[in-house]
């Protein structure tokens, strides 16, 4: 459980760092792009400035040439021509540098070409010798016109440059104001993410430490429990077939911990020769079946040289690194084994004893019948023919003999019936309880009419059972009610059945949803003290004297036996002089 959580947080940390990494790359690229942009913008600003300066320079050179020329024309002093000549040179230089600056811009180049043509034209009006004043005047006038258009052309160019400058300036300012914000905020985010990652790492580390402590405790306790529970664990690397035994595994074999090389060959030396085959066979197929089936075998303990019974099972386990290991447990079950052997033996003895007892019971009661029947038959013959010839004393003795033999007959019959409820084959079939009641009533018809009894039964259910045993059960319970009925009141027995769930009847002590058929017999007879409710089901147990109510105390014991044969329960409720109620629960 904690393992997967740990791996999850590793994934989390990995993604945190991945996100932070990408954010930083993003940040770097944005910064780089911004710097690049700024570079470009400042380059073009410089460019614009250069163009404006050059253009201003150009005008001033032309003006110098004009002034020089004018001076020369007025004075005819050739020293005035020097600035004119220089101007021409400077103008060319300026053009060259301008041309360099605006190489890439065709619109500006055309403008420049036009300016150059105008400059050229202007210079063409600078003449050293004028033929006449008219020519001078015309030239002068033309020169001024050219100069004007030149000025306007330059003005246009300057103004576009200026406009460009202002927009670029604005962009520059804008960029300069946004960049730090973006960079800073992204930076903050990445710090935050990293912080989160850090916190998680710390938390995981703490978890790891506590888990490590727990693991150590667990390791210790498992070592202890291995000793107490007499088992050892081991690890088998499927690839290189190397074993790793826990300390207790060695101890179980009667060796000091880690005192020999843990492998299959060395292990086989301990195993009982008869069981070696089972052992090796089990290890042969471990890779295909991915497990070691539960095997039982014996080993010879090295130190005490006693034979112990071991049990081993194992499972293949593939860890996160993909290593295929088999984790196994070996247990010393000698004590359990011996106990089970003993229990089995005792059980066998018990079953045998029980069987013998039942057999004895059956044979005794069955074989006792034979002589008793003869005694009774002879008694009946004497009674029919010779009784009148007996003396009075003999007659009364004879009657005593008759009574005693009758009582013995009842005892033997009941006992036989009791033993038979155990012996008979338990053939379950669907039994209609209505039919069972009818048969019981016809069986008891004499008794019922004698007592003027009323047997009421609602429509009863069917149940899985042994027909004749259920009949016996009903007969016994009804006849019990008839026997203990009041003398001054007609006996009434109410029988009904209904289905109930086990958990709804607490006295069944069964919390399952298993269904039972609850059959209730309620009479209006003498009843009994509730404290005897359990006692009445015991064999030979009687609540009344033999004289008042003849009986053997077997009838209800038979009922209990029959109900138990059907895996059911029987309960009795009674109240003196108000009647008895028998509840029977039979599983459906």
């Amino acid at each position: 459980m904690f393992k997967s959580k740990l791996f999850d947080s590793i994934g989390f940390i990995r993604s945190v760092f991945l996100i932070a990494f990408f954010i930083l790359i993003f940040l770097a690229s944005i910064t780089y792009r911004h710097i690049k942009e700024l570079d470009k913008i400042s380059d073009s600003i410089m460019n614009t400035y250069a163009i404006s300066i050059e253009l201003g320079q150009l005008i001033s050179y032309i003006k110098d040439a004009e002034t020089g020329h004018r001076g020369y024309v007025i004075t005819n002093d050739s020293t005035y021509l020097e600035p004119f000549i220089n101007a021409r040179k400077n103008v060319n230089l300026t053009f060259q540098s301008l041309n360099n600056t605006i190489k890439s811009d065709t619109v500006k180049q055309q403008q420049l070409i036009r300016i150059y043509e105008l400059v050229d034209k202007r210079f063409s009006y600078f003449k050293n010798n004028f033929a006449n004043k008219d020519e001078f005047n015309t030239d002068f006038k033309n020169g001024k016109m050219v100069m004007d258009s030149l000025r306007s052309e330059i003005e246009i160019m300057l103004s576009t440059e200026n406009k460009l400058l202002t927009t670029k300036d604005k962009l520059y300012k804008y960029n300069n104001s946004n960049t730090p914000l973006i960079v800073f905020s992204t930076f903050l985010i990445s710090i935050l993410i990293l912080g989160l990652g850090y916190m998680r790492i710390i938390k995981n580390y703490k978890d790891l430490v506590t888990q490590n402590i727990r693991l150590k405790i667990f390791d210790e306790s498992s070592k202890q429990s291995e000793i107490l529970g007499k088992y050892g664990s081991w690890l088998l690397n499927i690839e290189d077939k190397s074993f790793n035994f826990s300390d207790n595994t060695f101890r179980l074999l009667g060796c000091k911990p880690q005192s020999f090389q843990a492998n299959l060959e060395n292990l086989l030396n301990f195993i009982h020769p008869d069981d070696q085959e089972i052992f090796t066979a089990a290890f042969q197929n471990i890779e295909e079946s991915a497990m070691l089936p539960l095997i039982h075998y014996r080993i010879l303990k090295k130190d005490t040289l006693e034979i112990r019974h071991f049990r081993t099972t194992a499972k293949i386990f593939i860890d996160r690194l993909g290593n295929k290991n088999m984790i196994g447990t070996t247990q010393d079950i000698t004590e359990d084994y011996n106990k089970t052997q003993l229990i089995e033996l005792r059980n066998k003895e018990l079953v045998q004893n029980n069987k013998e007892l039942m057999e004895f019971n059956h044979v005794a009661s069955h074989d006792l019948q034979e002589p008793l029947r003869k005694i009774q038959t002879f008694i009946s013959r004497i009674e029919d023919r010779e009784k009148e010839q007996l003396s009075e004393t003999a007659k009364s003795y004879f009657e005593k003999i008759q009574e005693a033999s009758n009582r013995m007959r009842i005892l033997i019959d009941d006992l036989l019936q009791y033993s038979r409820t155990n012996r008979s084959e338990k053939r379950f079939e669907e039994v209609d309880l209505n039919q069972v009641v009818s048969n019981a009533i016809s069986e008891l018809s004499e008794n019922i009419s004698e007592k003027k009894a009323l047997i009421h039964f609602e429509k009863l259910h069917h149940v899985q059972g042994i027909q004749f045993q259920l009949e016996q059960l009903f007969i016994n319970i009804i006849s019990n009610s008839l026997k203990y009925s009041k003398t001054d009141e007609a006996a009434v027995v109410d029988i009904n059945s209904k289905k109930v769930k086990a958990y709804k009847v607490p006295k069944l002590k069964d919390d399952s949803k298993k269904e039972y058929l609850k059959i209730t017999f309620k009479d209006n007879g003498l009843g009994f003290e509730q404290e005897y409710a359990e006692k009445i089901f015991l064999l030979f147990n009687r609540l009344h004297g033999k004289k008042e109510y003849p009986g053997t105390g077997v009838g209800l014991a038979i009922c209990k036996k029959i109900v138990e044969n059907h895996k059911g329960y029987i309960f009795a409720k009674g109240k003196v002089n108000e009647g008895a109620e028998f509840e029977i629960y039979l599983p459906i």
Partner: protein, 187 residues
């Protein structure tokens, strides 16, 4: 002196019977040495004569008038049950009317010859009929009780048990098992 004889008693009996019966001029068939079928009705006088003649030779007429009446009673009862004609009147009245004798006479006669009473015989026949219905027609007890005019299944069941000592369901089970065993033996 001693003589050793060999006789064919069969031949002898036949010869004697023929000689004695031919005197009466009645058509008859000798089915067996112990069974004669007369092909015409004979009056009581002739019957007595035949009886005396045969008696002289050690023959005794087994089948007599009483037996004939008893047989008739039985037949009437069997027919009555088999035809589902359980009469609404008492069976005693029914029998007296059918056979033209008082029920007291019939009853005494019946008991004398069969060692049992007419009532018992009726119950026995009814139960036998129930058995037949159970085994051959696979009827349920409820259906049978209805068919034979029993007041309830319980009544039928208890009468069955009282007559045979076993319950109808046990009867059914026993016959089923028997036929299973027989089938096994055949296979």
């Amino acid at each position: 002196m001693k003589l050793f004889l060999k006789t064919d008693s069969h031949f002898l009996i036949k010869k004697i019977l023929k000689e004695k019966l031919d005197v009466f001029n009645i058509k008859y068939n000798l089915i067996n040495t112990n069974e004669i079928l007369f092909l015409e009705t004979i009056d009581t006088e002739t019957y007595e004569k035949i009886a005396t003649v045969l008696n002289d030779y050690g023959f005794e007429i087994i089948e007599n008038q009483k037996n004939i009446i008893v047989q008739k009673i039985k037949e009437t009862i069997i027919e009555m049950i088999a035809n589902d004609q359980i009469p609404s009147v008492k069976s005693s009245v029914y029998l007296a009317e059918k056979l033209n004798h008082s029920y007291g006479y019939l009853s005494n006669l019946f008991s004398e010859v069969t060692y049992t009473s007419i009532e018992n015989f009726i119950i026995l026949q009814k139960i036998e009929y129930v058995k037949k219905l159970i085994t051959h027609h696979n009827l349920t007890l409820t259906e049978i009780a209805f068919k034979l005019n029993y007041s309830s299944v319980a009544h039928l069941s208890s009468q069955f048990k009282n007559t045979t000592g076993i319950t109808p369901s046990a009867f059914q089970r026993i016959l089923k098992k028997r036929s299973e065993i027989n089938n096994q033996n055949i296979n």
